[in-house]
Structures are given as structure tokens and as C-alpha cells.
């Protein structure tokens, strides 16, 4: 009989630094979570706590091994909680872990799709890319990073993409510029016989917003995966609410994916900045 309490472990089984610069670090952890692994689908996330005093933060489930009962997270050490998470090592346990949450991505054969990933958002792109490729789509992928050292999962995404474009802000790798530059060219190119049915974008809010603005003109359906602030992440608090097409939605239970053309980007940007001061304050208190 399956041990119903086994997922209580929440143990970090493997940890790996995927990329780092002087001020930024991207880390991958594999965590024991049999129940979540067994039921998670691409596009879903989990909520975790590092310690009893900690915050509840949502992180996308990047990969899951259903047989071994392991899920993978990739995160950028940005705020206090991700910094504390980055301090945990193999063998340490999370304080809390619940999921899978949110709606899975609708995986079907759209035909030709463009996937755009920026920064740590590339991690969230990977499971969706794999699933879309598996459903028979022709996947064109655009990855963007600030600099070469922070570009992650290039090899993995290359293996599921028929075409892979890379941009870096500083030109240290791939093409110098932004993902939207490539996106616009792909959509604009009249010589091409491609007929893109879907653009899927995940990354920093300004990037997703620019992608949605770019595709609007070409009337290509555009999904974005939002990273709103959350507390319980089960629809109880409404912290993550965002206006989509003039209606209030909860990112946690109605999302996290929404039609990028309908998202109130201004509202989302502002709401995500509600606690910037506290975040700065508490990060300054953290022992170096």
C-alpha cells in the first residue's frame, strides 16, 4: 500500500546552480513530493515555505518524475524567500509544500507555435514546450537572458524545438537585443509559409506585456503565465487578483495562464510592487 504520508518529506534530493553572475543566481532543486509529482501537469505550480516564519511563495513545477516522486523547481534568488531557499542544500527539507495548483496548460495540436521565455521564465517554458512538442506541434522557441551566464535550459529546449532563437541584452551570446525583436520578425516575415496559431510567453512582466502587444497586431492568440503575488494560492485570499478583459480573476485558481491581449498589465505591475519597501527592508536585515 502506498504510504499516504510519504510526501511529508519535502526533502531536497538534488541541488544545482544553473547560472550565476555577481548579483544573480539561478538554482535548480529537486524535491521529494510523490503526490504532487503524480498529479502535476505542465503549466501548474506549487506553493512552498522555507521555514515556519517564512512566506508562502508560488513556484512553477518545471519537471516531475512521476515514478520517483520528484518535482523540480528552478528559481532566481530575488526576494528574501528565494534567497533563503537558495541557502538550503541537498538533504534539507522545506517547511511546507502544496500543489499542484492552477490550471494546466491546454495541450493540443495547435500546428505551429512560438514559445517565448525570458530569464527564469525559461524554466517555466520547458514543461510546456515538451508537452506541446509531444502533442505534435511544430515548436519555435525564443529565449532571452540578460547575459550569457544567465541563460538556462538551452540544450533541453533545443531538443524539443524545431527552431531556437537566443537573445541576450548585452549581446554576450546569441543575438543582442530582446525576445520581442525576434518575435516580431517571425510574425512579420512574409516569405515564410509559417502560420502561427499560438504564442506562449513567460518571463518578466514587461517582456510578456511587450510580446502581447507585438502579437496583437497579427491577431495571434497569446497566452501568458502570470507571476502575481499570492498567499494561500488556493483561491482563499484574492491577493493575486488581476483584471482580464475587464473582469477580476484570481491568478491562482483561474490562471496562472491568461489571454495576454486581455490582461490589465498596468494593474498587475502595480499590484506586484505593493510590498517592495518591506522586501528591501527585510533583505537588508538578512545576514550576508
Amino acid at each position: 500500500m502506498q504510504d499516504v504520508f510519504s510526501f511529508l518529506k519535502m526533502k531536497i534530493l538534488h541541488k544545482e546552480i544553473l547560472g550565476q553572475t555577481q548579483d544573480t543566481r539561478l538554482t535548480k532543486i529537486e524535491v521529494s513530493a510523490p503526490d504532487i509529482a503524480a498529479s502535476a501537469s505542465p503549466g501548474q505550480f506549487a506553493v512552498l515555505m522555507v521555514s515556519e516564519e517564512g512566506e508562502r511563495i508560488p513556484l512553477t513545477i518545471v519537471d516531475c518524475d512521476k515514478n520517483k516522486g520528484i518535482i523540480t523547481f528552478i528559481f532566481q534568488e530575488a526576494g528574501l524567500t528565494t534567497k533563503l531557499l537558495g541557502k538550503l542544500n541537498q538533504g534539507d527539507s522545506l517547511y511546507a509544500l502544496a500543489g499542484p495548483l492552477g490550471h494546466p496548460t491546454e495541450i493540443k495540436n495547435y500546428g505551429q507555435v512560438i514559445l517565448v521565455g525570458g530569464g527564469v521564465g525559461i524554466a517555466e517554458l520547458y514543461p510546456v514546450a515538451k508537452a506541446l512538442k509531444g502533442a505534435g506541434n511544430q515548436v519555435v522557441t525564443i529565449l532571452g537572458a540578460r547575459t550569457k551566464e544567465l541563460l538556462i535550459l538551452e540544450k533541453e529546449l533545443k531538443s524539443v524545438s524545431s527552431e531556437l532563437h537566443i537573445t541576450t541584452d548585452d549581446g554576450s551570446y546569441g543575438r543582442k537585443g530582446f525576445t520581442t525583436d525576434v518575435l516580431k520578425e517571425l510574425l512579420n516575415n512574409e516569405q515564410r509559409t509559417m502560420n502561427y496559431e499560438l504564442v506562449y510567453a513567460v518571463g518578466p512582466i514587461p517582456m510578456m506585456r511587450k510580446c502581447a502587444a507585438a502579437t496583437q497586431e497579427f491577431k495571434v492568440k497569446t497566452l501568458v503565465s502570470l507571476n502575481a503575488l499570492m498567499v494561500d494560492a488556493t483561491g482563499m485570499c484574492g491577493c493575486c487578483r488581476v483584471e482580464v478583459g475587464g473582469k477580476t480573476k484570481f491568478s491562482c485558481v483561474d490562471g496562472p495562464e491568461f489571454d495576454g491581449h486581455l490582461v490589465d498589465w498596468d494593474g498587475l505591475t502595480k499590484r506586484n510592487a505593493v510590498y517592495l519597501e518591506q522586501e528591501k527592508h527585510i533583505c537588508n536585515l538578512m545576514p550576508k
Binding site: 510526501f7 483561491g235 477580476t248 518591506q278 522586501e279
Partner: protein
């Protein structure tokens, strides 16, 4: 000589607004004896009819008057598993105290003269807790082999778990959050229900053999069907009313506009009032506005005011309610407490719009004045906005406490469970069984927002039906 009703003593106002310590002190033994001696021991004790679980109030008060506190404890425990909790949070003035013979018939709530049954219940409950009294488990033939799953560790869930565990059934309680207690933990602030009371009750269940599984979302990590296949003979759903309602007015999604659930969860569950020791932040307004007239609104306002005081701000917290005070659904005691603590009440007003500053933070609120019309379907007089009566108020923190709806995570994942138009679970009122066999439900997920004691009443009924169905 007629004795005066005895209010329980309370923490001094200046002290309580600077902490989250419990406001109401329990009765001392003398106070309990004095209050118990006021009970008329009616031949026909109508107070009992006002209790949703039918506690033998007459008997337990008599036992108190005879100093038989142990007897009183077991009398209450026949019907109510958590007297220390209910004695603190029951809206007695709408229940047993309202039907007490000392309240005039037809009053909207209990008279001051009505026996303070809730304070006596708390006294007895706390006596039982201090003396580690517990109801001896009774065995039910073959129970040891039976496993029942309870979904949700709120009032309904823990009550059902206790009822079944005492009969020797193996109970596993699944909770989606990292801490146990449901609304008793994230909703009710510690100054009304201290956490150690809740912890004691949960520890007691653990001692009874109840297994708690936090961080497990049924409907996501496991399905209902999966639970039944895992070998649970029955499942009880105590999912609660977890989804906050909003007003649907412009500006409602501005920064620093919170649902009461979010505000209270940050403070109660995540301990945001101890930021940065605890890492979850909450914003504190200079001009806090709370919208609503229920217990949640009172709780949110009193928390907001405490945060102002504890952070060195001049307290300025106002409750806006569209009817008048008499229609407020909150416990009268909480309304009094809120007023004593300096919460301002602005009644007969309807919020119309929030305005932002340049960074998207709420800055002002515009309202309309209301007058009361004829009673509506709730039996309360309906507020009618007065055209042209607009006025604006400063508001840099808004908390919306206008009710809750069903949390649909499990029911959406399990369409075979029949729900009504409000997404509440439909049950057979006799057994609390849902449209899926062996699956029962109770608490706020059935029939919408109610009280802790009503939830427990439903849970007890379901537990009886589960026992029957398991032994059949």
C-alpha cells in the same frame, strides 16, 4: 434580592489595542457561581432550543451552581466537543441567550439580563482543559479496521474527526494549508481565540489517534476518488466558505485594497504583525476603511487598528456598513469591543468607487448615503442609496468584508458531487450524505456561511451517519 447579570472581565482597552492578547478574561469561580445562580432553572428550558447542537444548558448551569464543574463539562461534551472554542466565538445573543426566558420575545437579540450562557460554557470548557478532562473513547465493533478521511481541519472537520476517533475509527484529516484549524486559525484573530486553545483541541485529537496531513489539497494532489480507492470507507468534506466576495466597484483591485480573508490570513496565519521576524508583510494604513457589518469586518477592523497602534500611528479605522447597527450580523460583544477600542462606525453608506494615487495605491473612497426601505429576503430592512449624496473619505487601506463563497477547488475537480447555484454542496439533510455515496459534507460548504457551532452540529450528524454506513 435579584442579582445583576455579570459580564466577564476584560483586558484594559489601552493594553489590548497594543497587542494580540485575548480581550475577554474568563469568569472566576465566584463569578461563574454568581451567574449560574441567576438561572431560573425553567421547567421548560427554551434556551436549549436556541442552541444549534442542543446542549442541555439548564443541566450544566445547575451543575455549575452545585460546583460540579466536572459534571457540567461532561454535560456540555455530550453535545459539543469544543466548549472552550464555542464559549469564545458563539454568537450566543442570537442563539441560546436570545431564546432565554429573560429575553423578551421578538427582540432582535438577547437582552442584557439573559443568562450569560456563553461565559459559563467557556468557564466549564476551560476548567475541563485545565484539568485534562476528556470523554473516554467508546468502541464500536470492528471500528479499528475502518478508515475515514476528513477534508479540511476547520470547525466541521475537527468535530467530525473527534466524533469518529472516539468510536475507534482511524481518521486522517487532510488540510491544504500548512497549519491546522481552518478558519479558527486564519480567520479568527488570537485576541478572540488564543492559539493555545486551538492547539490544545488539536493535540487532544492527535492523542485520540487522529492523523493530520497538512499541505495536502484534495482535488489537486489527491482526488476524492483516489481517497476512496486508497481504502477510506467514507469521506467527510468540511471545505468551508473560503472564497472572498468583492463589491464589484471601480478601483477595487488597486494596491492596498484587501479582502478580509487576505488581510486576516496575513496577520493570523502568517503572523504579519510580527514582520520582519515573520516574513510575510502586510500594509498598515493611516486611514483604514473596513467595509461590512459581520464578525469578519469587526475582526479586520480591530486588527487594522492594532497594527496602527503597534506601529506608532494615530488610530484611524472606520467601518462602513450600508444598513444601521441593529442590522449588523456581528456579535454584539464584538461591536462593543470595536467601539471601545476606538473603531469609528459610519453607517448607512454604500461604497461606490476607490481612487488611486500615482503609484496605484488607494487614496480615497467615494460613497453614497443610504436610507432603510422595506425588509428584504433576509428579513432586514433594505438599504436604498440616496442619489446625489456622494461624499469622499481618505482611505489608504481598504478591507472588504462582505462575505464568502464556497471554495470550489474540490467540487470543480469532482463534478459528480452535486452543488447548488451558489456552488455549495447539496446533501441529504438527514445524513449529510452528498450525491456521491460514502461522501458526506458539513459546515460552510453546505448552505453557506454559518457559525462554528452550526458547522459542528452538521459534522456530528454526518459522523453518526458515517458510523451507521460503516457498520452496515
Amino acid at each position: 434580592m435579584k442579582k445583576e447579570p455579570l459580564e466577564a472581565k476584560e483586558r484594559d482597552v489601552s493594553q489590548r489595542v497594543n497587542s494580540f492578547d485575548e480581550v475577554v478574561f474568563g469568569y472566576s469561580e465566584e463569578e461563574a457561581l454568581s451567574e449560574a445562580s441567576r438561572c431560573l432553572q425553567c421547567k421548560n428550558p427554551v434556551c436549549i432550543l436556541g442552541c444549534p447542537v442542543g446542549i442541555d444548558i439548564k443541566k450544566f448551569i445547575y451543575q455549575v451552581s452545585q460546583k460540579d464543574y466536572k459534571g457540567a463539562y461532561f454535560t456540555i461534551r455530550q453535545k459539543n466537543d469544543f466548549p472552550s472554542i464555542c464559549g469564545r466565538v458563539c454568537p450566543a445573543e442570537y442563539q441560546c441567550r436570545k431564546t432565554c426566558i429573560l429575553t423578551k420575545k421578538g427582540s432582535p437579540f438577547a437582552a442584557k439580563e439573559a443568562i450569560n450562557i456563553h461565559f459559563l460554557e467557556r468557564f466549564v470548557g476551560d476548567y475541563g482543559m485545565r484539568n485534562n478532562l476528556s470523554v473516554p473513547p467508546g468502541k464500536c465493533a470492528g471500528a479499528a479496521k475502518i478508515k475515514v478521511a476528513v477534508v479540511g481541519s476547520g470547525p466541521a472537520g475537527i468535530c467530525c474527526a473527534g466524533e469518529l476517533a472516539r468510536k475507534g475509527i482511524k481518521v486522517v484529516v487532510f488540510e491544504s494549508l500548512h497549519k491546522l484549524g481552518g478558519v479558527l486559525r486564519y480567520g479568527i484573530p488570537p485576541f478572540r481565540l488564543p492559539r493555545d486553545i486551538l492547539d490544545y483541541e488539536i493535540d487532544y485529537l492527535k492523542k485520540l489517534g487522529v492523523e493530520f496531513v497538512p499541505n495536502c489539497i484534495i482535488g489537486k494532489a489527491k482526488t476524492l476518488d483516489g481517497l476512496l480507492k486508497e481504502g477510506f470507507a467514507a469521506v467527510f468534506l468540511g471545505l468551508g466558505a473560503g472564497t472572498p466576495s468583492f463589491l464589484g466597484i471601480p478601483g477595487e483591485n488597486l494596491c492596498n485594497v484587501y479582502s478580509a480573508n487576505e488581510f486576516l490570513t496575513r496577520v493570523n496565519l502568517m503572523s504579519a504583525y510580527e514582520f520582519p521576524k515573520f516574513h510575510t508583510p502586510v500594509n498598515i494604513g493611516k486611514h483604514a476603511i473596513v467595509i461590512g457589518g459581520g464578525n469578519t469586518a469587526m475582526d479586520a477592523a480591530r486588527v487594522a487598528l492594532r497594527l496602527q497602534k503597534m506601529n506608532g500611528l494615530a488610530p484611524d479605522t472606520t467601518i462602513l456598513y450600508r444598513r444601521s447597527e441593529v442590522e449588523m450580523p456581528a456579535r454584539r460583544l464584538e461591536i462593543e469591543h470595536a467601539k471601545e477600542e476606538g473603531i469609528k462606525f459610519k453607517l448607512l453608506v454604500k461604497p461606490e468607487e476607490f481612487y488611486a494615487d500615482k503609484n496605484g495605491f488607494v487614496q480615497k473612497i467615494r460613497c453614497l448615503e443610504c436610507r432603510l426601505g422595506e425588509p428584504d429576503s433576509s428579513g432586514r430592512r433594505k438599504p436604498i442609496p440616496v442619489p446625489g449624496s456622494d461624499f469622499k473619505m481618505p482611505c489608504d487601506l481598504a478591507i472588504i468584508a462582505v462575505g464568502l463563497q464556497a471554495n470550489q477547488i474540490l467540487t470543480k475537480a469532482t463534478p459528480e458531487i452535486k452543488v447548488d447555484e451558489w456552488a455549495d454542496v447539496v446533501v441529504d439533510p438527514e445524513t449529510m450524505e452528498t450525491s456521491v455515496k460514502k461522501v458526506f459534507a458539513g459546515g460552510d460548504i453546505v448552505g453557506g456561511e454559518g457559525t462554528v457551532i452550526e458547522a459542528m452540529g452538521m459534522a456530528k450528524k454526518a459522523a453518526e451517519a458515517i458510523l451507521k454506513s460503516c457498520s452496515a
